[in-house]
């Protein structure tokens, strides 16, 4: 699913440098990225998603070298291939849960809002246990329910890759495992790979592989 090789990146003016000699994520694989704060975990997710572009190297996602795409192509690619789950859920307070799930269809021409998409959103919500709360706004949902909405939003476009950035960071310990399991279950049904940044080491056994990001930082520092 992902092949990153000889990727270098730095933020201008901050002295931050990231170097990834090689990273591979197989189809439908579940990999956790751990590492100290500021080591570049989120930066790697942003590079894979095409939000940032590397100075050098190859980032191949589902057969597309993201680094060589234009800005518009990267946006379209991101919208159609990648699903995002954020630590703060990033739901819109003014939209109902249903419209939050369908939000990606409202912001890009790469996706068309069809009856199938609406049915898929409904089915995802039901399978995530929030089928009866679709007309509620985020303020009327618990944190766990909000994250379920965010997971539905990430999956509704049928992406091949889910990027999860501290998706369970704001949840209580009980909800963390449940939400992660739900994410894995839904990703598995959709046939999507999951690459998750996390600080919750107790959740690591649930992943197939763990990538310690400290090694990339050390190599960059070297």
């Amino acid at each position: 699913m992902i092949t990153a090789r000889d990727v270098t990146f730095r933020y201008g003016g901050t002295g931050f440098r990231l170097r990834v000699p090689e990273f591979v994520l197989q189809n439908q694989e579940r990999v956790a990225i751990v590492g100290p704060s500021g080591s570049g975990k989120t930066t790697l997710l942003n590079l894979i998603a095409g939000i940032l572009t590397p100075e050098t190297g190859l980032i191949d996602v589902a057969g597309t070298n993201v680094a060589t795409l234009s800005d518009a192509q990267r946006r379209r690619f991101r919208a159609s291939t990648i699903g995002f789950v954020f630590q703060d859920f990033a739901l819109l307070d003014y939209l109902s849960a249903r419209q939050n799930i369908l939000y990606p269809y409202r912001i890009t021409p790469a996706l068309t809002l069809t009856a199938e998409a609406r049915e898929r959103a409904e089915a995802l919500a039901v399978s995530c246990g929030i089928g009866d709360k679709l007309d509620r706004h985020p303020s009327a949902l618990s944190q766990g329910e909000q994250q379920r909405v965010a997971i539905c939003r990430a999956l509704v476009t049928q992406p091949k890759l889910i990027l999860s950035d501290e998706a369970t960071g704001n949840l209580d310990p009980e909800s963390k495992a449940r939400i992660l399991d739900l994410l894995f279950e839904q990703a598995s049904q959709a046939g999507a790979a999951v690459l998750a940044v996390t600080h919750d080491h107790e959740l690591l056994p649930r992943f197939e592989r763990v990538l310690d990001f400290a090694q990339f930082r050390e190599e960059a520092d070297a």
């Binding site: 939000i51 991101r78 990606p104 912001i107 021409p109």
Partner: protein, 389 residues
Amino acid sequence: MNALYLAVAYMRYHWGRSLVLTLVAALILFVPIATQILLSTSERALVSRGDATPLLLGSRGSQLDLTMAALYFSDERPDPVPMREVEAIWDSGLAMPIPVHAAFSSSGFRIVGTTLDYFDFRELTLSDGRGLSVLGDAVIGADVAETLGKGVGDTLVSSPENLFDLDGVYPLEMPIVGVLAPTNSPDDQAVFVDIKTAWVIQGIGHGHEDVVTAAEVAAGSAAVSNAAVVQYQRITDENIESFHFHGSQDDFPTSAVVVVPNDTRSATILKGRYLDSENPTQLIEPARVIQGLVDRIFRIKALLDVVTTIIAVAAIAAIGLAVFLSYRLRAREMATAVKLGARRGMVMQLLSAETITLLLLSAVIAGICVTIVSRNAESWVGWLLALGS
């Protein structure tokens, strides 16, 4: 469409903020336009009344007071001129004089004593009833009829003007014989009577056994003279013959005389005759007086425009700040949209869709209000101008 959908959803969810911004923006759009419409309508109404009145004869003094009293039936009371001045104009053969006696009122509306020529001159038409024919008859303007809810067959009583004069005249009860069609002019706000009726109200003319007490109105009994109770005069078929005037009509007063010259030459000759500053009467051109007043008002309007502009700029700045703060609050939403693959310009499209929707709503509200003002400007201006009378 998606940007519009999201904009509408955002505005609906934050309806309080959206409502305030929309109303403020609508006000900013509406107020200057409405002011302009009302002012230009006022100017037209004022100037047209002045233009429609070629010359005005009155006692020497404030030309503005004379104009306001004779054309707008205002509270100004210029010194009266004797009727001999009317006769002098007739005798000159240069113009038609129309006396305007506007010293009394009834139920808050000015009683205008005049001659039938006034109705022809102002091209007033009746919407109901007939014109003045008998002493005591009253023909009321459209606004008077609407405000008082009175029509043909009802009566009006003149307001007593000399309450502390026990020997003074009693108010006169006047039957309404006609209602004028609306003209959006001061005529709508007037109670027209024959000038002789005005003199009866003034006490110059009177009848015998014509005083009616309030009790008699209810009982329908015979008249008694009793100044201790509310009383008024009533002109009836039985007592009309007894009405008479003391003294020479040449000495009877009128507030002003509308002078309608035969032609420009006649007007010039007539104006020349009243140039002498020792002459107790003056002949003025109301259009020039009104234009002077309008020019003064519009000099004040220029100041008003500056104030309005400053307030509008401040209000626009406040709206701009509110929108800017809203954008700042939505920065996280915009970052999310970018991460989810929002196309370039989508973020700006989202924000501008909200701003444009808000401005469009404001424009629609302002447009509706401006249309209402525009359609009613003439009647509202007529009412506003009449407020001063």
